[in-house]
Point group: C2
C-alpha cells in the first residue's frame, strides 16, 4: 500500500460500493473495499437462483476478479464492527483476527436488510431473499418440502407443504411468486407422477394494489398477469401471525403453509447506527446532496442505507440505479475534495423500472413515462439484465441456462445441497 | 404404483444404483430408487468443484430428471435406517416421517466412505472429498483461509494457512493436489497483489510409490509430472498426527497446515452391516458372482460396498466401471429371476484407468495394456469425462467453463457461500 496517497475505505460491495470503487480505480488513492462476502451479488436475479433457474455463481462475481487489474483497489473479506469517526478508523473482524483500518475518506454502502415493521417474531418462520445464501436456502427449503410432501398421506398436511405464501407486492414479490409458480407447475409436477400434488402460490400485499410506485394501469396489468399465470393474489390485508405451519391475515384468513417468503420491505443497514446520528424513518442515514454525511468529516454514504430528498421533497427510492449513481458521485466528490475541485450534488437519472412475472410476462415503466406490459416488457427486462450482468462467462452461462429453461423447462440446477456442519465450522473458522 | 408387478428397491443413486435403475426402466417392475440426495453426483470431478473450476450443479443431476420419462422408476429422498431382510422391508427416514417400504428385490448400492484406518481422531481436523457438500466445504475452507491469510502479520502463521496437505497417492489425491496447486499459483496469487503469499501443496503417501495399481513407469511418470507442476511429494511415511494447525508424519516430519485433505482410502458403506453378515476387510459385503448376497433372499449388492474376487483370487477394485457393470448385471439377473431366465455371473470389462495432474498432464493405462502420459493422456481424460457426464446442458456448461478456465485461468465460480444456520434448519426440517 502506497502511504503517500489518501486512503479510501468502501464498506459494502453491492451496487453502490462497487460503482464507487470502479470510479476510484486507477486514481491517485488507495482503495480498500470491505464486504462480508468475497463476491458481488447481482441481486435482481436472486429469485432465479431460489427457483432453480440459475446457479448461485452465475449471479455472483468475485470482488478480487473485478478489480484484478486495478492495483490501487484491494478487497477485504470481513465484518465492520465499529466506526471511530473521530480518529477516522474502522474495526474489522477478519476470521479470528481484529484489524484496525485507518481511513482518510469513508464510503458507507452496506445497503438494506428486511424489515418486519416491528413484528420481528415473524422472522422465526419466514424465509428472506436478500442474499445469495437466502436464495440457496429458499431453494433447498422448497425442494425438500416437495420431496417430503410426495410421501405424506394426510392430504391437508401435504397441501400445506406445497403452498407458498409470498408477502410483498413489490417487484421482488411479483418476480418470486411468478417464478415459484412456474417451478411448481411446469417443472416439479412433471416429475412427481405417482401422486398429483396440489400446489398453490399466494401473493399477499397489505395495500389494495401491487407495485405502489407504478401508475394505475400498470398496477392493474401486473395483477392481471399474475392471476392469468395462476398465482392467487390477496390485497388489502396485512399479515397478522406467522407460525411454522400456517399464517393468518388481519382479515382473519388462515393459510396453511410451511413456506413464507418475506419480501414486504427493507430498512437501512444497521451500520448506519455506528455514526451515532439521528436516523430517518426506515433506519436510513440522512446525507447531503453531495452524499456526504453531515458532521462526520470525510464520511460519505450511498444507496439503500441513506436518506436524501429530491426537489419535490420525496426521498429517493431504495433502488439499484440510485445506489449506482450515488456511488459514482461519492467517488467523484472525494476526488474533487482531494484535487481541490468542486463537489457536485446528486441528480438522479431515472430510466424507469420494470418487474417480470414468470417466463413471458412483465410490466415496465420506461423513464416513468412509457408503460410496457406483457411479452415485450419481458424481452426488454431480459436484455437489460443480460447486459448489466457482470462478466462475459456469467453472461454466457446465464444466457444458455435461460434459453435452455425457456425451451425445455428443464431445471438441472435443482439440487438440494446441504452443508456439513463439522466442515462448515472448519471453513468458518478459516 | 402398480401392485401387480414385483417391486425392486435400489438404495443409492451412485453409478451402481443409477445403472441398475436404468436397466430396469420401462421393464415390468416397480422401481424405487432411494438416496440421501435428490441428485446423482459425478464424483470423478468433485475435485474440480473443490478447486473452483466447476459449479456444484455441473456435476450433479437430479434423479427425478434422469427418470422423468420412466414411469416405473420413482425417486425417494431419504435415509435407510433398517433392513428387515426376513420380511423384506426397509425402514426409511423421510424428513420427519418414518416409512416402511416392502420389496421383492433389493439392490444395495450405497458405495463407500472414507476410512482413517483406525485413526478416526484424524477426521476431526480433516477435510474429505466424497460428496458434493464435501467439495463445496473444501472450496469455502481454502478460499476463506486464503482471504484471512492476506491479513496475517506473522509469517509462520500465514504460511501454515496457505499450505495444503493432501493425503493419498491415488487418482483422487493426485487430481486434487494438482488442481489446488494451480488454483493457488495461477489464479489466487494473481489477485492478492499487495502481499506475496508463499503457497505450498504437499502430497503425502505412505507407500514408496504413487498410483499403486499402475505399472512402475506410469507411477514414475505421475511422480515426475506432479513435481514438475510444483507439488511436493512425500512418499513412504504415513500420517501419525493431525492437529488443527499442523500434521506429523511417522518419520517425525512436522508440517504446519490448516488444511488436510484426506484421500487415503475408503471402506464399504455402513449399510452393509444391516444385513448382519460377516464382512470382508474394508467393511465390504461378500457377494456371489451373480451379485446376489448369499443367504439373503432377493437381496443384491453392487459396487464399492461389495467384495467379489476375480478368477485370480483378487477382489475387484472399488472403481466406477465395476459399480456400473455390476449394477447392470444385478438388474438383468433380477429380470432373469422374474422371467425364469438364467442368471449370469459378473465379467469385468476393464477399459483401464487414468488420473489427471493439473491442466495438461495425466497418466492413463488403456485396457491395462497401453500406457499414456502427458498432454495426450489429459486430452483422452477430458474427452472421456465430457462424454460420460450426464445431461447435455451440463456437458455444455462444463465444456464452456473448462475452455474458459483453460485459456483465461479465470475462476468466476470462486464464491464463498456459507449457509445461514436458521434458514438451514428450516430447510433441513422441510
Amino acid at each position: 500500500m502506497n502511504t503517500q496517497q489518501p486512503r479510501v475505505i468502501i464498506v459494502g460491495a453491492g451496487f453502490g460500493g462497487l460503482f464507487a470503487a470502479r470510479t476510484l480505480a486507477n486514481k491517485p488513492v488507495d482503495v480498500l473495499l470491505i464486504d462480508r462476502n468475497n463476491f458481488h451479488t447481482f441481486t435482481p436475479l436472486l429469485y432465479q437462483v431460489a427457483t432453480c433457474a440459475l446457479d448461485p455463481s452465475e449471479i455472483a462475481y468475485p470482488v478480487r476478479t473485478i478489480f484484478r487489474k486495478n492495483k490501487n483497489v484491494r478487497a477485504l473479506l470481513g465484518n465492520v464492527t465499529d466506526i471511530d469517526y473521530t480518529n477516522k478508523s474502522l474495526t474489522v473482524q477478519v476470521g479470528e483476527q481484529t484489524l484496525q483500518e485507518p481511513y482518510d475518506y469513508l464510503v458507507l454502502a452496506s445497503g438494506s436488510i428486511p424489515t418486519y415493521f416491528g413484528q420481528d417474531v415473524f422472522k422465526e418462520n419466514a424465509l428472506e431473499l436478500r442474499t445469495l445464501s437466502d436464495a440457496v436456502n429458499l431453494r433447498n427449503h422448497i425442494l425438500s418440502l416437495f420431496e417430503e410432501a410426495t410421501w405424506v398421506a394426510d392430504e391437508a398436511v401435504r397441501e400445506a407443504m406445497t403452498t407458498i405464501v409470498v408477502v410483498g407486492g413489490g417487484p421482488t414479490g411479483l418476480e418470486t411468486a411468478g417464478a415459484i409458480y412456474e417451478l411448481y407447475n411446469h417443472v416439479l409436477n412433471r416429475e412427481y407422477l405417482h401422486r398429483e400434488l396440489q400446489t398453490r402460490v399466494i401473493l399477499v400485499e397489505m395495500q389494495p394494489y401491487l407495485l405502489a410506485p407504478y401508475p394505475d394501469k400498470l398496477r392493474q396489468a401486473a395483477l392481471e398477469q399474475l392471476e392469468s399465470l395462476g398465482v392467487e393474489v390477496r390485497l388489502g390485508s396485512p399479515v397478522q401471525e406467522v407460525a411454522k405451519d400456517h399464517i393468518t391475515l388481519a382479515d382473519g384468513t388462515r393459510i396453511d403453509t410451511h413456506t413464507l417468503v418475506w419480501a414486504a420491505g427493507v430498512k437501512g443497514s444497521p451500520l448506519a447506527e455506528m455514526l451515532e446520528l439521528p436516523l430517518q424513518r426506515g433506519g436510513r442515514l440522512p446525507i447531503l446532496p453531495t452524499t456526504e454525511v453531515p458532521g462526520r468529516a470525510g464520511v460519505y454514504a450511498v444507496g439503500d442505507m441513506t436518506y436524501l430528498e429530491d426537489a419535490s421533497g420525496q426521498p429517493y427510492p431504495m433502488l439499484i440505479p440510485v445506489a449506482q449513481q450515488q456511488g459514482e458521485l461519492a467517488a467523484e466528490n472525494i476526488l474533487a475534495e482531494i484535487g481541490g475541485g468542486e463537489k457536485r450534488p446528486f441528480r438522479y437519472h431515472d430510466r424507469g423500472s420494470m418487474a417480470t412475472i414468470g417466463r413471458r410476462r412483465a410490466v415496465a415503466w420506461i423513464y416513468n413515462k412509457i408503460p410496457m406490459r406483457g411479452y415485450f416488457a419481458w424481452l426488454a427486462w431480459l436484455a437489460l439484465h443480460l447486459v448489466t450482468l457482470l462478466g462475459f462467462r456469467n453472461r454466457l452461462n446465464v444466457f444458455i441456462n435461460w434459453m435452455w429453461n425457456y425451451f425445455t423447462y428443464d431445471r438441472s440446477v435443482r439440487i438440494i445441497l446441504e452443508q456439513g456442519t463439522q466442515k462448515k465450522e472448519l471453513s468458518a473458522s478459516g
